[in-house]
């Protein structure tokens, strides 16, 4: 039998909340699948649509952008801009026929190690049946 | 060789060409393009395709080589020559075929471009004389062409009613006629005069023309600094339509496209490039010798009607009218040339 498909996920985590939240998941020794490679950015507001498209272009099966809850942004309002920008990217990608499940956004605070764990677990679970993302990826 | 083929037998002929990939113009949502087809999909009545058949012998992207860094740090390089089947392209307009001969000059001569010729040698071009102009902007007769020109063609078909008058000009052409047994007949004199009559009428039906074309190349020599270019280029938007669609434009770029940076892996690719793009002549110093659209429009005209003429004794324009029909702002190469001709 063929080996089970393991989706490749890129997660853009803001330094102050979501990355700290994932650290807490670590400190609490919560277990989740190893499919996600996190990239810590200063703020979810700094995640350019280009990053998301590039991750898919380079073969990511799923992309996650995670920031502080509204009102909790270390930079006061970066996550509000992120929310608007990501909403537009998400709408556009869905409009062109990318499976909506492949691109997700979440609010994870520094205290929500458990939530981060759940998000990653669920993301991997959703992506597995979808198989490899070939639509936007570079063909060899 | 001259033959007669009834239209009824035409699909049978195509079917007999079993060892060839068959290309012909097909329509999808009002757009005509050359695609790989089967015998029954070929239509005779079609306007100009959006893209000329140059993409069959000179694709918009092709690989030169692939490279990588081995585990021990040594570089690995592998040449990637095209591996193409023999192909027959049906329905090539005489002007487009003439364009292919221009490409042959560019990619031949002192230096033979192996990638181009690997494809080119595999292709047999079957033309169709234009009984009626396929575009409202046809002007082949003004640039030393004609609706029944045979330059670049291996075979020319002329529609003379219920049959084709078939002429071959090369061994490649003969081979595809000989691939079918019993379909082709020897032409009767009447059929030959019919064909000639049709050819003459086609010339008369030419929708557009440019008088005194011969005056233009020498004239252009003196117009490099003329303000004419600024005025003509006012409405140009610097897109790449005119040149990408041109059957004779052949400029290309070579880039290394990296698929993995560590360990290094990638391919060297050739892609079409375009003198109308600002980055075409951009130097790494930041200097751009053609900094504005006027200088780029001038380059396009100069190259086609001056430099190419000097180098190859031909206009680098075959009068298909694509650049006129598709220009988003109505820049009309005939009009520009008329202004060059009449410039004082």
């Amino acid at each position: 039998m063929a080996e089970e498909f393991e989706p490749k996920i890129v997660a853009f985590l803001c330094k102050w909340c979501s990355s700290a939240g994932s650290d807490l998941a670590g400190v609490s020794r919560m277990q989740y699948p190893s499919n996600v490679v996190p990239i810590t950015v200063m703020c979810s507001g700094s995640v350019s649509p280009l990053y998301i498209l590039s991750a898919f272009n380079k073969g990511a099966d799923g992309v996650l952008v995670s920031g502080c809850h509204p009102g909790d942004c270390h930079y006061i309002k970066g996550n509000y801009y992120a929310r608007r920008r990501i909403a537009l990217v998400k709408e556009l990608l869905e409009f062109t026929g990318l499976e909506p499940e492949r691109f997700q956004m979440s609010w994870v605070s520094a205290a929500e190690g458990k939530k981060y764990t759940e998000i990653i677990k669920d993301f991997v679970k959703i992506l597995k049946p979808l198989g490899p993302q070939k639509k936007l990826g570079r063909s060899q | 060789m001259q033959k007669i083929l009834t239209k009824k037998s035409f699909p049978k002929w195509v079917e007999d060409l079993v060892n060839y990939q068959i290309y012909a113009p097909v329509e999808k949502n009002d757009l005509w393009s050359y695609e790989i087809v089967t015998a029954n999909e070929i239509t005779i009545d079609y306007p100009n395709t959006v893209l000329s058949p140059k993409q069959i012998t000179f694709p918009q992207r092709e690989f030169f080589l692939e490279f990588n860094q081995n585990e021990d740090g040594t570089p690995g390089v592998k040449e990637l020559l095209p591996e193409e089947n023999e192909a027959v392209v049906f329905g090539v307009r005489p002007c487009d075929a003439k364009g292919v001969t221009h490409m042959d000059k560019v990619f031949g001569g002192d230096f033979e471009d192996a990638y181009y010729w690997k494809r080119r040698n595999q292709v047999t071009l079957v033309g169709l004389a234009c009984n009626t102009p396929p575009s409202p902007n046809c002007f082949c007769t003004s640039v030393e062409g004609s609706p029944y020109s045979v330059e670049g063609l291996d075979v020319l078909l002329t529609d003379i009613g219920d049959r084709f008058f078939v002429q071959t000009f090369t061994k490649k052409g003969d081979r595809i006629i000989n691939a079918s047994k019993g379909l082709f007949a020897a032409p009767k004199p009447k059929e030959k005069t019919d064909m000639e009559k049709i050819h003459q009428d086609a010339v008369k039906a030419m929708p557009r023309s440019l008088k005194d074309m011969k005056k233009i190349p020498p004239k252009l020599k003196d117009l490099f600094e003329a303000d004419l270019w600024d005025l003509e280029a006012m409405s140009c938007i610097s897109c790449g339509i005119c040149t990408y669609l041109c059957p004779t434009c052949h400029c290309f770029d070579i880039q290394d496209e990296i698929t993995s940076s560590s360990p290094l892996e990638g391919k060297r690719v050739r892609t079409w490039d375009n003198c109308q793009f600002p980055d075409f002549t951009m130097h790494s110093s930041g200097h751009n010798p053609r900094p504005d659209k006027a200088s780029r429009l001038r380059q396009r005209i100069m190259h086609k009607f001056q430099y190419f003429v000097e180098n190859h004794k031909n206009y680098q324009c075959i009068g298909c009218g694509r650049c006129i029909s598709k220009c988003p702002v109505g820049i009309d190469i005939i009009q520009v040339l008329e202004k060059v001709r009449d410039h004082v």
Partner: protein, 343 residues
């Protein structure tokens, strides 16, 4: 109705009085082109101006060239440029003002109202004429296009030949102008996003199949971005070459240019280009439809922009081009912006 003579007279006046350095308008094209952009410098040439249903081009695109030309001039002529704008084009002016790309003093705006019609879709008209050549055409005032051909007149209902974006236009008359020709109208079409909704109704895989076919055709001639009044960046993020190079740019800096996409016109790269274009036009596109019109391969690029226009309206209540003083779509937010997609 727009009175062409009035328009010509006004053009003549402002040129003669040296109010403007030149006027960007429309004139008769050569063979087969019913209207082309024209740049009128002499008052007497005002007579070459035309106004008809084929005046499709968004002339504000040429303000980019004007700005560059002016930057190169040693002694810049600071008079405004006269420009003829339709409703959609005038919204482009507002966006350019919003983005400080031009100032209001840079342009003298001759607004023309499309009233209850708009401009034609050349392809739709060609189909209706079935090979016949139009000698001239105009609206009859009753939402019919009257086309004169060699074989006489043909009357066609406006809805059958209007460009799709005109059918979905939220304001057919200019929202900013110095002089207005024709009547001021404001209507809210019920069908403002119909073209987009048709695609939305498809399943994910059908949508992908649709766009895959479209993007596969793309030859990256970049006519869509070249014609766009908002694509005024000197260097596009998807370009592989740095334009912003000066004498003291180091080799390392040049090497830092990110190759977000390859030059190869393969589907993944073409898709990336069109996505970036659409995202960068979110909240900026005024739906003049030029990108789609100029595409030699008939890719319905406009749908991408229209989709984001729709979401800007629905999700954020954001309208483009009506207020030059509003904050841009992506440089603003509201506390109550939707977040049901966020976990």
């Amino acid at each position: 109705m727009v009175n062409l003579d009035d328009l010509k007279k006004e053009a003549h006046r402002i040129l003669e009085e040296n109010k403007v350095k030149y006027i960007i308008g429309y004139s008769q094209g050569s063979n087969g082109f019913p209207a082309v952009p024209a740049f009128i410098r002499n008052p007497e040439d005002s007579d070459n101006l035309i106004w008809n249903p084929a005046c499709i081009h968004n002339l504000t695109r040429f303000l980019r060239d004007e700005k560059k030309r002016k930057a190169r001039e040693k002694h810049p002529d600071n008079r405004p440029v006269g420009i003829i704008v339709k409703g959609c084009d005038s919204r482009a002016i507002n966006v350019l003002l919003q983005e400080n790309y031009i100032t209001r003093e840079d342009v003298f705006i001759l607004g023309v109202s499309c009233e209850d019609t708009g401009v034609i879709d050349e392809k739709k008209l060609a189909k209706k004429l079935m090979g016949k050549m139009a000698l001239s055409f105009d609206w009859d005032g009753n939402r019919n296009l009257v086309v004169t051909t060699k074989n006489g007149e043909i009357k066609i209902n406006a809805d059958e030949v209007l460009a799709e974006r005109c059918l979905e236009c939220p304001a057919q008359s200019p929202v900013v102008y110095d002089i207005l020709f024709g009547d001021k109208v404001k209507r809210s079409p019920e069908t403002r996003f119909e073209s987009v909704e048709k695609i939305e109704k498809l399943s994910t895989e059908e949508r992908w199949a649709f766009w895959k076919e479209q993007f596969d055709k793309c030859i990256r001639c970049y006519a869509c971005r070249s014609v766009c009044p908002m694509c005024y960046c000197d260097e596009c993020v998807v370009d592989t070459i740095s334009f912003a190079v000066t004498a003291d740019t180091t080799a390392e800096e040049k090497a830092q240019k990110i190759k977000w996409i390859d030059k190869s016109p393969v589907p993944s790269e073409t898709f990336f280009y069109h996505m970036v274009r659409a995202i960068h036009l979110a909240g900026r596109c005024i739906d003049c439809g030029e990108c789609e019109r100029v595409c030699p391969l008939d890719i319905p690029i406009r749908f991408l922009n229209k989709k984001l226009e729709k979401e800007a309206k629905n999700l954020f209540d954001y309208e483009v081009g009506f207020d030059p003083n509003q904050l841009s779509l992506v440089s603003s937010f509201k506390d109550e912006d939707p977040e049901d997609f966020i976990r």
